[in-house]
Amino acid sequence: MGEEIPKDVALQLYRTMKRIRSFEMAVIELFARGKIPGFLHTYVGEEAVAAGVCAALRPDDWIISTHRGHGHLIAKGGRLDLMMAELYGKQTGYCKGKGGSMHIAEPDLGMLGANAIVGAGTAIINGAALTAQYLGTNQVAVAFFGDGASNTGAFHEAMNMAAVWKLPTIFVCENNAYAESTPQTYHQTIEEIAVRAVGYGMPSASVDGNDAGAVYLAAKEAVARARRGAGPTLVEAKTYRIRGHYEGDPQIYRPKEEVEAWEKKCPVEHWRTVLLDRGISGDTIEEIDSQIDRELKEAVAFAEESPLPSPTEARSDIFTPLPTEMYHG
């Protein structure tokens, strides 16, 4: 699979996954130390999905994310320092401390936000796709969501609307086997969520979500279809949530052996092997790793040193001020 992927993309996939993994392992530790308020859903084990999909996108393409959204922002080019500051609830964070982990967003990077209402993003992303279609910009729009979201009404309404309007939407289902604590084997009678596309007359693919190359190639095909005006695609990436639903989840609902088996299929380690097999030197990979380590250290320092938001800011940014020229013409 790796052979079909250009070297620069292969390296990018590794770098993105490694940035995500390193960020997540850091925030897990910082959260345990009480540095991060609220709750935390990490993307550990699912990195290949965000990395593979976003590698197939242009910088101006849109994505919308989930409550488990750090990986998507990183894959879309998010800065670790601004992300870390947001998770800390600092003024310098991506959302000035108003969104936190579950609502982190950067529209300038095409990232329309992590979204803590499961399934909601699938409906919103069609709007971004509609804008692209309406203005003829040739952008595409991607919704990331999980297996749980594939049971929401929003998902089904959105799939149908995207198909009817031939929107340049790509629905990326991160099937990580659990909707919070409920296994997919309980919450649906199907094994492949991709089959749900049939009901909407939409093409689909189901791929190994721990193989960044497979995800990238499936996404590339879906993106090409969307850009040529041939409408939406459902891409299912089968993966696994290595950590609990949230940090601190006692995980009484799944056997340790199951988790351990999936840990052996680590997407980051797998891709490192692919790179080495392709003749990319260990030194090159080490250099990427150490760059990321430095970036992360700086990000934590930035978050630590950043000021808290002023309480006087608590009610700013609710409404956009009215433009003065609003009532002309």
């Binding site: 967003a105 936000g113 919103i124 971004a128 804008t131 609710i318 013409g329």
Partner: protein, 327 residues
Amino acid sequence: MAEMTYREAVKQALREELQNDERVLMLGEDIAEFGGTFKVSLGLLEEFGPNRIRNTPLSETAILGAAVGAAATGLRPIAEIMYSDFFAVALDQVVNQAAKMRYMFGGKLSLPLTIRTAMGGRRSAAAQHSQCLEAWFMHIPGLKLAMPSNAYDAKGLLKSAVRDPNPTIIFENKMLYNEKRDVPEEPFFVPWGEAHIVRKGTDVTVVALSDMVGFALKAADRLADEGISLEVIDPRTLMPLDIDTIVESVQKTGRLVVTHEACVTGGVGAEIGSQVAYRAFDYLAAPVERVGAKDSPIPFAPILEREILPDDQDVVDAAYRVMDYSA
């Protein structure tokens, strides 16, 4: 000036805003060829084409979700929810998404999104097609709400909404679509947050929403014969709410009746009454009266529906109660 119906006034606002800005488009169920259930958009398809007057599948969540996403990425969508009751199946997109997106993102984007919907009863449409649900949305910071009571406001408030960089919801009243009023034919705007003193008076302030403005004016005519003078105020928008104009009026009259077609319990009247009681307590000669629907699902049979919904007689009765009150 031209005499036109409320329906025609809404359509004129839509047409002007579609002409004014290419980014404006409409989406909703049956709004294109069919012209919408209330025929508000009839003819706009021929004028602006199917790309801008977009029929949707019967999917309120998909409609509002697409409108949110389109607004977030550079368009100025006008979404239609056929009956306001249908908001209930898609509330997430209004309450958790549209109202909060700008705030959650630290002010990083604006949502110039307009949602139009038809509200109210008196048509034997029964319990799922007759409600007045404005109070739900007034409770959610991040939304702007208007309830135009006449053709002039229906046009002017809608035009302002489409230009507003924030999510706005306009509750149009089904019973008013055929009502005529003189409306300027040239473009004009009604700013949001400015109450309209519809009738000057001295004894009782009546704050009336939507079609209760008409009933309040009828009550005022009837009571004038009895020597009781009502001042009728139409807030026009609930968010922002021009409470100052209401408070000033109560400081003059000393009595307040708030009336809306929505049921009394948990209604907007409670909020307005509370704000007035707080700011004009020393001026009040009687407790604040609320006139609304009796707390009940809306019945089908006309005789039952009339029993539940408020009208001018209820306003007259409430006015007498505040006039006759003695501590």
